[in-house]
């Protein structure tokens, strides 16, 4: 493993990305294909263990530091630079081989405490400190695209402003801050009549919160292209097991195929304090679900070549301690791993400024040190793929992140 080397070749790309001239021209005349690009954010809640997702096999300290967690259910799936993927992720490994998936390692937020709730707030708000901001970076990015298109407020069908959908009942923080956000989850309840909905809308004249939510939900169901009759699919109402997650991934693809540009999904249960490597344990099952979900998402995006215009970011709130804890799990840490995949991704490579796993190289002697700011990853995707302007990224979407270098995550 050669630490701190991989970024050296990218100075030129960085300079181009930060060029104000290049960015201005983009803002003035958005290219034809900007609106057809797709972005999916998958949030893994609970703190994904980066070294379980992607073990650093050739780090000299790996085997000793990880002990029983260095054993996997099969042979780890080799990547470059001495990294590998967990053997429970065969589809993701195939995507890596096809150049459609990149691994980011030793990546994290500008946050060094170990609270799930503060870290998740930062992951979604994009602020510099927890609870500085009460809207989300993706919501603000969508809002900035809407205002750029001069079409604020009419976002659902114009094609010139961005549309976003959350595949869950509660609207996640990351999408708050934009008008044009839908949320959708399977239902087992009866549909209200259009007459009742119209009367409710009239009754909500003085309650903007309820009025807006109802209008969005109604719009989603009226647009035959968006909701279809998927609500009747009983498998979608299952609890969020593997089948339900896979179906939710397909539903997200359905929205994206029909015009939504942004989709947000989440998976709970990554807080692996115990039995992290157990073959039938929660973490192993989550990894299998992750592989199945992303595989199904890709498959459903292949028609119309939508996958070729898609970037998926898989991110978590923090990594975990390097050392195994007293119950064959790991406790909360800081640096971890993230995945970027999609047909538009410059994949088949590992992006990392590897700090090393030896105790002296860890943060506070405990955690994988964060050497890549997750916000740099987000900036690269939002800027290059969704054409959010640098000015908007600096001031609005991810304030205080202007100094971060972009990463060449997308195919040029």
């Amino acid at each position: 493993m050669q630490a701190r080397r991989h970024f050296l070749g990218h100075t030129l790309a960085t300079a181009t990305l930060l060029s104000p001239w290049g960015r201005m021209s983009v803002a003035a005349t958005p290219p034809q294909d900007a609106a057809s690009n797709r972005f999916v954010l998958l949030i893994l809640r609970g703190g994904l263990c980066g070294l379980t997702l992607a073990p650093a096999l050739s780090d000299p300290a790996f085997a000793a530091a990880r002990g029983p967690l260095a054993q996997f259910s099969g042979e780890a799936l080799a990547l470059h630079q001495g990294f590998a993927l967990n053997p429970l992720l065969p589809q993701l490994h195939r995507l890596y081989g096809q150049g459609e998936l990149a691994l980011l390692h030793a990546v994290g937020l500008p946050y060094r405490e170990r609270s799930h709730f503060d870290a998740q707030q930062l992951l979604e708000s994009g602020g510099q400190r927890p609870f500085d901001l009460n809207t989300g970076w993706l919501g603000r990015a969508v809002a900035s695209a809407a205002s750029n298109s001069g079409n604020r407020g009419n976002t659902s069908k114009s094609g010139s402003a961005m549309t976003a959908v959350a595949l869950q009942t509660a609207l996640p923080l990351v999408l708050r801050g934009a008008d044009g956000v839908d949320s959708w989850a399977p239902s087992v309840l009866p549909e209200p009549t259009p007459d009742l909905v119209a009367r409710l809308q009239s009754m909500y004249r003085n309650d903007p919160g309820l009025a807006q939510a109802l209008a969005r939900a109604k719009g989603l169901r009226e647009d035959p292209g968006m909701a279809g009759n998927m609500a009747a699919d009983p498998t979608l109402a299952a609890p969020p097991g593997r089948t339900a997650m896979v179906n939710l991934g397909r539903k997200a693809a359905d929205f994206l195929q029909r015009g939504a540009q942004v989709a947000v999904l989440e998976m709970n249960g990554w807080d692996s304090h115990a039995n992290q490597a157990q073959a039938q344990g929660a973490t192993s099952n989550n990894l299998r679900t992750l592989d199945a979900l992303l595989g199904a998402l890709r498959e459903a995006l292949l028609p119309n070549q939508t996958w070729g215009r898609t970037v998926v970011l898989v991110a978590t709130e923090f990594g975990r301690e390097v050392a195994v804890n007293g119950t064959l799990g790991t406790d909360h840490g800081s640096g971890g791993a993230a995945l970027v995949l999609g047909g538009a991704v410059n994949g088949g490579q590992v992006f990392t400024d590897w700090p090393g796993l030896a105790a002296k190289d860890r943060f506070e002697g405990r955690d994988l040190r964060t050497t890549t700011d997750l916000r740099a990853v987000i900036r690269s995707i939002l800027g290059d793929h969704l054409r959010v302007s640098t000015a908007a990224l600096d001031q609005l979407v991810l304030p205080g992140s202007g100094h971060l270098k972009a990463l060449p995550l997308l195919r040029s």
């Binding site: 609970g46 002990g67 029983p68 405490e113 170990r114 609270s115 799930h116 709730f117 503060d118 400190r129 927890p130 609870f131 959350a166 009942t169 509660a170 609207l171 923080l173 708050r176 956000v181 839908d182 949320s183 959708w184 989850a185 239902s187 087992v188 309840l189 009866p190 549909e191 209200p192 009549t193 007459d195 009742l196 909905v197 009367r199 409710l200 009239s202 009754m203 909500y204 004249r205 003085n206 309650d207 919160g209 309820l210 939510a213 109802l214 209008a215 969005r216 939900a217 109604k218 989603l220 709970n268 249960g269 304090h273 115990a274 804890n325 007293g326 119950t327 064959l328 799990g329 406790d331």
Partner: protein, 518 residues
């Protein structure tokens, strides 16, 4: 008592019924003095309503039995697929007739692997699952029927502050017992009493992994490490600390996250070293599952096991605590009396009852009372109820799905019937999975988390279903006047008057802003 709302008696009664209660069919029942009505409710919680309620010791046994059958089935299934001879051996190893019967049933059905969990599922159906369902139903029915809705609101608040969740399988069978044993008997005592009961309950010890946390130098870990190493020897599954409970006690239950609460003067004030030290203090507090299974007379589901305890003194927040079981009491006392705890808990109470963004002056009032009374909970709640700042006529809070469903059942007088078809009253599809909070922080207490388009749409669907069932025999217009009083807006009254039929009028009432908010 100089807030205008308090001088308008009907308005104060309506606010008392909805903001501090769970909705009343007639807000006039509150009487002329809303504050007195609420204060009179403070005291020990009523006995929970419902049958088949298991104690934590019974819950532990039910879960152990479920796991035992599940493991037996796995063994039998794998043996069956290997060879008939191997199947015979596995069955021969089963020591009781019941196990043999279970093994035979599983073996007979185990040709396709899908049938593997049949017997364990049926055991779950008869024992553990009944407990899980009875717990959910009891929580909802008790709140729906209560004549002291403020106490039930406090129960909802504290069970969210001290979240335990079925998302962790080992907690199955224990969540209701936690509410009945750790919370309900102590709602009228001190925060310290409540904290000690919660942290030391079997459900909490299991939910946040303390059940398997051992001192790295404990007798148990030393013994496990001495086991002879062999080719098939699996690594010891218990080798040291698990910090999960310690961190959440500090961050979520007492001091609040370090660096948080700046607008209120700040809370928190602990370090990673305090987390580790508290985790060491907590070692040994466990659920003695084997003892409970072996002897059905034992009803203590938690005991301190010195074999698991980390030897030596531990320093938490600058204070040293000697080795042994007494240290936990001392540390929890220290945490309960800490100024950060007073501030953080006061903030959460005000946020729950009054506003998503609580007024700092009101938080400060509660905090002062908390400190003056060493966390006497009735005094703290009384200082909230007596503050004019708590009685704004503005309805800042959106009801959670659970509050919405319970208040609907109360206002419509549905009683237990509301929870016959679905044990959770249909709350889960509204986005709040009952007894299944996604994280130890519990369900959100902020409107923005419940106001997503899909969440609001599902409330409309839910209201539609209720209205279809009872709307024809309900006069929604009269109900709106009686239940909401002066909170009823002219626009809403007009929409109810003009509704197409009874069910539509009722759906409109249930979804009206002044019924959705409080």
């Amino acid at each position: 008592m100089d807030h205008p709302a308090l001088h308008n008696k009907p308005l104060a009664c309506a606010l008392a019924a909805h903001r501090f209660g769970l909705g009343q069919a007639r807000c006039a029942d509150v009487g002329d003095d809303a504050v007195a009505w609420l204060l009179a409710q403070l005291g020990p919680a009523d006995a929970p309503v419902g049958g088949a309620l298991a104690s934590s010791a019974q819950g532990v046994r039910q879960y152990a039995e479920f796991i035992r059958l599940q493991q037996l089935e796995r063994r039998v299934a794998s043996a069956a697929t290997a060879s008939a001879a191997a199947t015979g051996a596995a069955m021969g190893a089963a020591p009781t007739p019941m196990q043999a019967a279970a093994a035979a049933a599983a073996a007979a059905a185990s040709a396709p692997p899908k049938a593997v969990s049949t017997v364990a599922e049926s055991a779950y159906g008869s024992g553990l699952r009944n407990t899980v369902v009875a717990d959910q139903r009891s929580r909802l029915i008790t709140a729906t029927l209560s004549q002291r809705p403020l106490v039930e609101r406090l129960q909802l608040f504290w069970s969210n502050h001290f979240t335990v969740s079925l998302t962790k399988p080992a907690v199955r069978g224990l969540v209701g017992a936690f509410e009945r044993e750790a919370l309900r008997p102590h709602l009228h005592t001190t925060f310290e009493t409540l904290l000690k009961a919660s942290v030391r309950h079997a459900a909490m010890l299991r939910y946040l992994d303390n059940d398997n946390s051992a001192g790295p130098e404990s007798a148990l870990v030393k013994r496990l490490a001495r086991r002879p190493a062999g080719a098939e020897q699996r690594p010891a599954t218990i080798t040291g600390l698990n910090e999960n409970l310690a961190r959440e006690v500090l961050e979520l239950h007492t001091l609040g996250v370090s660096g948080g609460g700046a607008a209120y003067g700040g809370w928190g004030g602990y370090t990673q070293a305090d987390v580790t030290a508290l985790a060491a203090v907590l070692t040994g507090w466990r659920v003695p599952a084997r003892m409970l299974v072996a002897d059905p007379r034992i009803d203590q589901a938690v005991r301190f096991d010195p074999q698991w305890h980390q030897p030596g003194a531990k320093t938490v927040l600058g204070r040293s605590h000697a080795e042994g079981p007494d240290a936990l009491d001392q540390v929890l006392h220290q945490l309960a009396q800490h100024p950060s705890t007073a501030r953080f808990v006061s903030y959460k109470l005000v946020r729950h009852f009054v506003a998503d963004e609580p007024a700092p002056a009101l938080v400060a009032q509660l905090e002062r009372t908390f400190l003056d009374t060493q966390g006497d909970l009735p005094s703290v709640v009384a200082s909230l109820l007596k503050s004019p700042l708590a009685w704004s006529a503005q309805l800042d809070k959106l009801k959670t799905p659970e509050e919405f469903v319970i208040s609907t059942a109360r206002v419509l007088g549905l009683g237990e019937s509301a929870f016959e078809r679905a044990p959770d009253g249909g709350i889960s599809p509204l986005g709040q999975r009952l007894h299944n909070a996604a994280s130890p922080a519990g369900h959100s207490d902020r409107a923005e988390d419940w106001l997503g388009p899909d969440a609001v749409w599902k409330r409309v669907e839910w209201a539609t279903r209720v209205a279809d069932r009872v709307g024809r025999r309900t006069d929604a217009r009269a109900l709106a006047q009686q239940s909401l009083g002066p909170l009823l807006q002219p626009s809403t009254a007009q929409h109810l008057d003009r509704a197409a039929d009874g069910p539509q009028a009722l759906a409109l009432l249930l979804m009206a802003p002044e019924f959705q908010r409080r």
